[in-house]
């Protein structure tokens, strides 16, 4: 979801520096990043990644956060493969904040996003497993006084022909103290027993997530802990002018009330008195610098801009000249709303600060910047700050905060009440939903021309807010003053079109925005795939055959498309009466996903009956998790294009809960069939790429049904307030 320019990542790694992200930070003399930058080599030390207990269980410390997308299981699979462990002995937990040891190799800092978990760890974690295997064998060879080369490891059992036999636990202490081999030999893929195999690897976290034992931040309940809720400005950018806490402090269970930079914090013994205390606060807000525009005003501004040329992103051929030649000329506008992530567990975090040290525990997606933010607010050296990462109830981008706003607020509420008082900061659902950091509001104006059955011209004028502007990503990721996450997917379409243009207006709005599962592709995937379908329709082409003709330089797009055509039996399938099918294919984060949707119309809007999905994510490490992510991505995409929208009333976000921010429910979930395209390409991510094709496939099916492609989302008007 974040730094998904892989060319940049590769170049960065080749240079041997820890990355441009770091560069930006080092320039600000931030010690933590400087330390990571000074240690650019890839860490494969088993004693930093593995805990091998006397009972021979192997716990893999996962660099990334587990909030559903499966890195616990994924990292353990990579390690276990090379370690020749028995899957039953594998466990996983989160690595603590330490960018020297646990940085994301695609980012140069510790953090999860951009569907990079497997992609950036595929070699590294296998090396960890291979190194550990080699060290365990060496320890056993030493103990048994036999040559290491004669020892075998199979399913967690170390053996020698002399009859010696042992398990990892017996040799772990000795092995982990040995020097780490510099370049441990990895298996040839033909030898894999776990990677890519069906049915042998089960998720490590399923049981605890079924019996209530899985431990989340909200579940922290330490002695003397205070639960804190913060009253924040109803309008973005508003500040506290004055407040009266008399009534709040009179609420039984409320311990204290303090002002912080973001609002007024209420400290209580438990959540309910904190919430009641907050409701009793009397606050006057200073809205002089607040965003006061409503959705209608934004639409007007964005629409006006979309009719003028923006800053050029990319041009090929002669677009305007080609358009002037006429033929079938099509111009359409697509409007995308602000979207909240609305993860099941609203934001929250715990911090214990004693004046000299700070210990934070929460579902932290970007440990490195958060670590620095906490250290800065509390005035502590970074080595006096510790962050343990906990499971989180979803994120979809919301916890990957380049602004570090939650870490700052957490440290501020701890600081405001003073040392020795552990705090659990809790956002209510309404706080979370009205708290901003949305998928940006944006408009695409598409123009194209078809002549003689061929798409001759294509342009896309984008009007959007920037996600990265003002953050530490800006200096490394911006290109010519523009945020590439606003146009990714629109600037380089996969189709052969001779005359092409993409331009953009980058607009400032006082609403905080953030990456939202699949980032720019949430809207660029929609417009590119809906528009190519519309142009192909004008050209009289079949949606799949027509696309394939234009994908001459994009074999993996074509491969995914062919795979889904076969899965859905595109040519011969008889679509039931009253239904129609549509297709879309989108590359995001180096993963290629094609989907076919079958739907009908009801009084409550489209009813999607079935989705066929083909995914090419390179080497498939955990096939069942890949399928699960496709299923989840489809459901997530569908719920939002059908129903979800955050609107603004004079600057204040309207929807505060699921009654007005409608979420997909089980009765709206389609049947799903997934095929994984066989590939030997290096593995890429699956957390996000299931989302983008769903929307346009629905739109294209609606067009086929005669309803037309929805130009303004969500499709079902009035589902949200």
């Amino acid at each position: 979801m974040t730094v998904h320019d892989t060319k940049l990542s590769r170049r960065t790694l080749l240079k041997g520096s820890a990355g441009l992200v770091l560069g930006a930070y080092v320039a600000r003399a931030d010690k933590l990043f400087a330390q990571a930058a000074a240690k650019p080599s890839v860490n494969i030390a088993p004693n930093t990644f593995l805990i091998i207990k006397p009972d021979s269980t192997v716990t893999v410390l996962c660099k990334g956060i587990e909030f559903g997308q499966g890195p616990f299981t994924g990292m353990a699979t990579l390690v276990a493969e090379e370690l020749d462990a028995d899957w039953a002995q594998m466990r996983a937990d989160h690595a603590p904040s330490n960018p020297q040891l646990y940085k994301n190799l695609a980012f140069g800092m510790q953090g999860t996003g951009g569907s990079t978990a497997i992609a950036n760890s595929y070699i590294q974690m296998r090396q960890v497993g291979a190194a550990a295997r080699q060290m365990l064998v060496a320890a056993a060879a030493d103990a048994w006084q036999v040559p290491a080369g004669e020892i075998t490891v199979d399913n967690g059992v170390i053996k020698h022909a002399s009859g010696h036999e042992g398990r990892f636990g017996e040799f772990a202490d000795k092995a982990m103290a040995m020097p780490v081999p510099a370049d441990p030999k990895l298996k040839d893929p033909s030898q894999f027993r776990l990677i890519g195999k069906e049915g042998v690897v089960k998720r490590l976290d399923s049981a605890d997530k079924t019996n209530g034992k899985a431990f989340y931040t909200l579940d922290i309940n330490e002695p003397d802990m205070l639960t804190v809720v913060v009253a924040r400005s109803p309008k973005f950018g508003g500040k506290v002018a004055s407040f009266d806490a008399t009534a709040a402090k009179a609420v039984a269970g409320v311990v204290d009330v303090k002002q912080v930079s973001n609002g007024v914090a209420v400290y209580a013994k438990g959540f309910w008195p904190a919430k009641m205390g907050r409701e009793a606060l009397k606050i006057t807000w200073d809205d002089s610098k607040a965003e006061k525009r409503g959705s209608a005003e934004l639409l007007q501004q964005f629409r006006g801009l979309s009719k003028t040329a923006g800053k050029l992103v990319k041009a090929e051929g002669k677009f305007e000249e080609s358009m002037a030649k006429g033929g079938r000329v099509i111009e359409v506008e697509y409007v995308f709303p602000y979207l909240a992530h609305a993860a099941m567990e609203p934001l929250n975090a715990y911090l214990k600060w004693d004046g000299d040290t700070a210990y934070a525990r929460y579902g932290c997606q970007f440990p490195t910047p958060d670590h620095m933010a906490i250290s800065k607010v509390l005035g502590l050296p970074i080595e006096k700050v510790k962050i343990d990462v906990l499971l989180a109830g979803g994120s979809f981008g919301r916890r990957a905060q380049q602004s570090t706003h939650q870490a700052i607020e957490l440290a501020e509420v701890a600081k405001a009440i003073g040392p020795g008082k552990p705090v659990k900061l809790v956002w209510t659902r309404e706080d979370d939903m009205r708290g901003g950091y949305y998928r940006p509001y944006c408009i695409h104006r598409m123009r194209g021309a078809v002549r003689d059955g061929k798409i001759e011209a294509w342009s896309d004028t984008i009007v959007s807010q920037s996600i990265m502007k003002g953050s530490f990503f800006e200096s490394m990721m911006f290109k010519d003053g523009l945020d590439p996450t606003s146009y990714e997917g629109s600037n380089e379409i996969p189709y052969d079109v001779e005359n092409f243009r993409c331009d953009m207006h980058q607009v400032d709005v006082g609403v905080p925005v953030l990456w939202w599962r699949s980032v720019g592709h949430t809207h660029t995937g929609y417009v590119v795939e809906a528009f190519v379908d519309e142009l192909l329709e004008a050209a009289g082409k079949d949606p799949i055959e027509g696309r394939l003709e234009l994908l001459s330089k994009k074999p993996r797009h074509a491969g995914a498309l062919k795979a889904v055509a076969e899965l859905a039996d595109w040519k011969n399938y008889k679509v039931p009466a009253g239904r129609a099918r549509g297709v879309a294919v989108v590359e995001s984060f180096n993963t290629f996903v094609a989907q076919v949707v079958e739907l009908s119309m009801t009084d409550d809007g489209p009813k999607v009956h079935k989705v066929w999905c083909a995914v090419d994510c390179g080497v498939a490490v955990n096939p069942d998790i890949i399928r699960a992510q496709m299923e989840g991505g489809i459901g997530f995409g569908l719920g939002h294009i059908l129903y979800a929208e955050q609107t603004l009333d004079a600057g204040a976000p309207v929807s505060g809960n699921f009654d007005t921010y409608r979420s997909l429910r089980i009765n709206e979930m389609p049947e799903i069939e997934v095929v994984i395209v066989k590939s030997t390409e290096k593995p890429s991510g699956v957390g996000e790429p299931g989302v983008p094709p769903l929307g346009p496939a629905v739109a294209n099916a609606l067009a086929k049904l005669g309803v037309g492609r929805p130009r303004q989302l969500p499709i079902v008007p009035g589902a949200s307030a």
Binding site: S206, G393, T428, R429
Partner: protein, 154 residues
Amino acid sequence: MAAFTLKINGQAREVDVDPNTPLLWAIRDGAGLTGTKYGCGVAQCGACTVYVDGQTVRSCSMPVSAIGTSEITTIEGLDSKEAKAVQAAWVALDVPQCGYCQSGQVMSATALLSVNPTPTDNDIDLAMNGNICRCATYVRIRAAIHGAAKSLEG
């Protein structure tokens, strides 16, 4: 504040809270049982589902003062044969992703199978559409309920 004795999972638990405190927070902050989750606070998402005298209830929207001597069952106290079948089916199909809603899903699914051992897809829709899963694990939830039903047939 007032003292309440709640019967949770067969045990008497003293909680000292405001009478208007939702049962959810009495269970979580008062009794220290954290398997029951907060998701919305307005009975929209089902993450807080518990049983009160065997009936599914959104604990976020029922004040603790309304409980009286009723028996409360939370995810920690589930031990019926239906519950075990549901949990086994959940694990067999690796249903959970983030997992945060799954206590509520398991409570609702168990309640369904307890009254309807062979639910149709439509029965599942009706029983489960009060439980939101933002990861959209619905395909597997449905399959796991059918799987659990099948395993109970024995």
